[in-house]
């Protein structure tokens, strides 16, 4: 958690010795709060003060990394209970459970890897495999894990300490989540995690048990932990996740200020039950959600929900500026122009698709503002649209010179005409829902004109 300058100041020697380069200790504290200097630049800080300061400035939910390379993911570091207070930082990883002795394990992995979609310039895909050593053979376990890692999945490896000790020399570089430390084996698991620098799953039934185990682990030096509260119903999962998040943020409980793993099977095994369980876990505080399988029809909705809720409320999602062809448009197809707020794009694009008339959609960079806001900010007006249309390259794709502007900015028609003297400016509907009807009429008029 970020400390204020005044809070930092209370830990400093207050001698104003100037050896750090700042005129006073208070000035140094202010610079430190603004991340302009390093704590180490103060030569007179006592080790106790250094420790307290490090603890006080630690994020309330510890940052834990799993995976490496393309599979690297960050968990934790959440700072709010409700996304509108600031934002949710790290989307929960979606994982699928796999037992290494399944005969079809390779097909499963390959089919999981193929499940990805493009949206708003982002790639939506599930990112983790939760692999259990059911074969009791290190060789088999390692082969499946290696394949999953090659396919860019982050790994959770669940097995006995003996099995994990055998596979970690070759798999530790993938930074898998080791599963799991619990009351009866936490020492040996903690040592493995420390030796191979891997994050460790901590399993305890209920909050009390987790807090106790987490304290012991941390004393032994284990820090990168993920919590499994072993809930057995969806109601317990909600209670547990909310309790843990509040303990971390409101009570500053470092032993519980750790990312959480949930298992969607807690609501029952059928696909609809997993969708509802995973949806709850996305909304309420899971960092890893384990499903029994990845299937396109149930995975896609979860990826969308996750994308929505983990969008920064202060920074709208944007589309890259450019020409978006919809339904194979040709040189005679109509040209629409609108802003690059991703919601504007999606809704207009969807309505044009629904209308089943091909069209060109010009998306102009308005820094993510919607039509009216961009107009009010002077970013979506005659001059700027005119310049954008000219340099967009649309003139080479069409024979006509007709452009349709959103109905809400009908007022800019004449200034746009000045900027684009060869063009006919048509005012389109205000609401995107009227676009299909507009297109039907537009096409009728074109046919009449011909």
């Amino acid at each position: 958690m970020a400390l204020s300058g005044i809070q930092i100041f209370s830990f400093l020697p207050k001698s104003n010795c100037k050896e750090c380069g700042a005129a006073t200790c208070l000035a140094f504290a202010m610079n430190l709060a603004a991340n302009k200097v390093q704590l180490e630049q103060c030569p007179h800080l006592t080790p106790e003060a250094r420790n307290s300061l490090a603890q006080a400035s630690a994020p309330p939910i510890r940052r834990v990394e799993v995976g490496t390379g393309p599979a690297r993911a960050v968990l934790g570091e959440e700072t709010v209970l409700f996304r509108h207070e600031k934002t949710f930082n790290h989307p929960p990883l979606l994982a699928a459970g796999l037992e290494d002795n399944r005969p079809d394990w390779e097909n499963r992995l390959n089919s999981w890897r193929e499940q990805q979609w493009e949206r708003v310039g982002l790639s939506l895909r599930p990112e983790m495999v939760f692999l259990t050593c059911a074969s009791q053979e290190a060789g088999q376990f390692q082969a499946v894990a290696q394949k999953a890692a090659e396919l860019d999945f982050a790994l959770a490896l669940q097995g006995s300490a003996e099995i994990l000790a055998q596979v970690l020399p070759s798999l530790a570089s993938a930074r898998p989540l080791l599963c799991a430390a619990q009351e009866d084996n936490w020492e040996i698991m903690a040592d493995l995690a420390l030796q191979y620098r891997c994050p460790l799953l901590l399993r305890g039934r209920g909050t009390e048990a987790l807090a106790g185990l987490s304290g012991k682990l941390r004393q032994r030096g284990g820090q990168d932990l993920v919590l499994d509260a072993q809930t057995r119903t969806l109601a317990q999962t909600l209670a547990s996740n909310v309790t843990l998040r509040r303990a971390a943020l409101l009570d500053k409980n470092q032993g519980l200020g750790l990312p959480i793993i949930n298992f969607a099977s807690v609501a029952g095994g059928d696909p609809a039950a997993e969708v509802m369980a995973a949806s709850l876990m996305i909304c309420k505080y899971a960092s890893i959600i384990v499903l029994s399988d990845f299937k396109r029809e149930s995975l896609f909705p979860l990826l969308l929900l996750r994308l929505n809720l983990f969008t920064d409320p202060q920074r709208p999602m944007t589309m890259p500026q450019g020409i978006y062809p919809i339904g194979n448009p040709g040189p005679d197809s109509p040209v629409f122009v609108t802003t690059n707020f991703s919601l504007t794009y999606f809704i207009v694009n969807g309505e044009i698709e629904n209308a089943r008339y091909p069209a060109w959609l010009l998306i102009m960079d308005t820094e993510g503002l919607s039509v009216l806001t961009a107009w009010a900010a002077g970013k979506f007006v005659g001059d700027t649209i005119g310049a954008f249309v000219k340099k967009s390259g649309i003139e080479e794709k069409i024979k006509h010179r007709q452009i349709i502007i959103p109905g809400y900015v009908s007022g800019i028609k004449s200034e746009l005409k000045e900027a684009l003297p060869d063009w006919r400016i048509t005012v389109g509907p205000r609401e995107a829902s009227r676009v299909p009807q507009f297109l039907r009429e537009w096409n009728l008029q074109q046919n009449d004109a011909n």
Binding site: F82, T233, Q236, D251, A267, M276, L304, F346, N354
Partner: protein
């Protein structure tokens, strides 16, 4: 560990809907937080019924009802058989950009429905403020005392609708565009027109999954915080979300496997409706209007799971 409940000094109003006085609201904690408060009534799940044959509806939804779709009365009966706890009649016929029918067909249909069903009846206009005011006010007067739930009522048409609804005892869905302050303002305007708060449902405007759902989600959470933690009486009213129509107009829900194999099986739209529905229920929805009966069953299961009496066992996790 000593679990400390989040301080809530407010409570949402209990409202009684329909002729059988079905209760909604009355929560003194965030959605499903039974570990620190009470939620006396379960969220109500409604299904859409259109007043005309639903040509624009996706095949997946149509197949769920089959031939029943050709009569709104049969459709409503099938929806009730599927577990709907309210019917949300969509007056598509009155849309000035479509059939542009007058109030008469709607008058007849609403009367027949009121006689046939004994769950709350939501009557939804065509999102044209003027036309909705005309048709809904005619309905309000004709079915005095029959406790309809009328919407959308916006700032633009509330002056025509609100006094009639108040006089004849109907409930109003106060629709505002995803904004806490506008929601509050409209509720105050409605009160000024004589509508008691317990006859107002807040419709925060629902974004589809992948189409702005997060805006609705956060505005609803803020509305609940205002009600529960800031004790704002004007906002402490049940929330209604029209989710079905947003889900089923999206391309991603409608696409069939044969045209888009990368989207998987055709029940994807149902899963989208369930996933978005779960998020809205968690954000505080008291009434969800859904399209597909299978989504209703899934969300019913979800609510039942969270209302299950596992309180004692929960304590381990607090």
């Amino acid at each position: 560990m000593a679990f400390k409940p989040l301080a809530c000094n407010g409570k949402t109003a209990v409202e009684y809907l329909g002729e059988k006085s079905c209760p909604v609201g009355g929560d003194n904690c965030f959605s499903f937080h039974f570990f620190e408060g009470a939620r006396p009534s379960q969220p109500l799940l409604a299904l859409e019924v259109w007043d005309i044959y639903p040509r624009e509806w996706p095949d997946v939804c149509c197949q769920a009802y089959g031939r029943n779709l050709s009569s709104p009365l049969d459709w409503a009966a099938a929806a009730l058989a599927a577990g709907a706890q309210a019917i949300a009649l969509q007056l598509k016929s009155i849309d000035p950009n479509g059939l542009d029918a007058g109030p008469e067909p709607a008058l007849g249909l609403v009367g027949e429905l009121l006689d046939k069903i004994d769950v709350p009846l939501i009557v939804w206009g065509c999102d044209n403020a003027e036309k909705d005011a005309l048709v809904l006010s005619t309905l309000a007067a004709r079915y005095a005392g029959r406790k309809l739930i009328l919407g959308p009522v916006e700032e633009a048409n509330h002056k025509r609708l609100a006094p009639l609804a108040a006089e004849y005892g109907h409930t109003i869905c106060a629709t505002t565009p995803i904004d806490v302050n506008l929601a509050k303002q409209l509720n105050i305007l409605l009160q000024n027109q004589g509508v008691p708060l317990e006859k107002i449902l807040i419709d925060p405007t629902t974004g589809g999954l992948g189409y702005g759902l997060e805006y609705t989600y956060s505005v609803m959470e803020r509305l609940r915080i205002a009600a529960l933690q800031q004790n704002d009486q004007v906002l402490a009213l049940p929330l209604i979300c029209h989710l079905g129509k947003e889900i089923w107009k999206s391309k991603e829900a409608r696409q069939l496997r044969e045209e888009a194999p990368e989207m998987g099986e055709d029940n994807r739209g149902v899963f989208m409706e369930i996933s978005a529905g779960v998020s809205l229920l968690l954000a505080g929805a008291n009434i969800l209007v859904l399209g597909h009966p299978q989504s209703l069953r899934g969300l019913r299961d979800f609510i039942d799971l969270l209302f299950s009496p596992a309180q004692a066992e929960n304590e381990l996790w607090l």
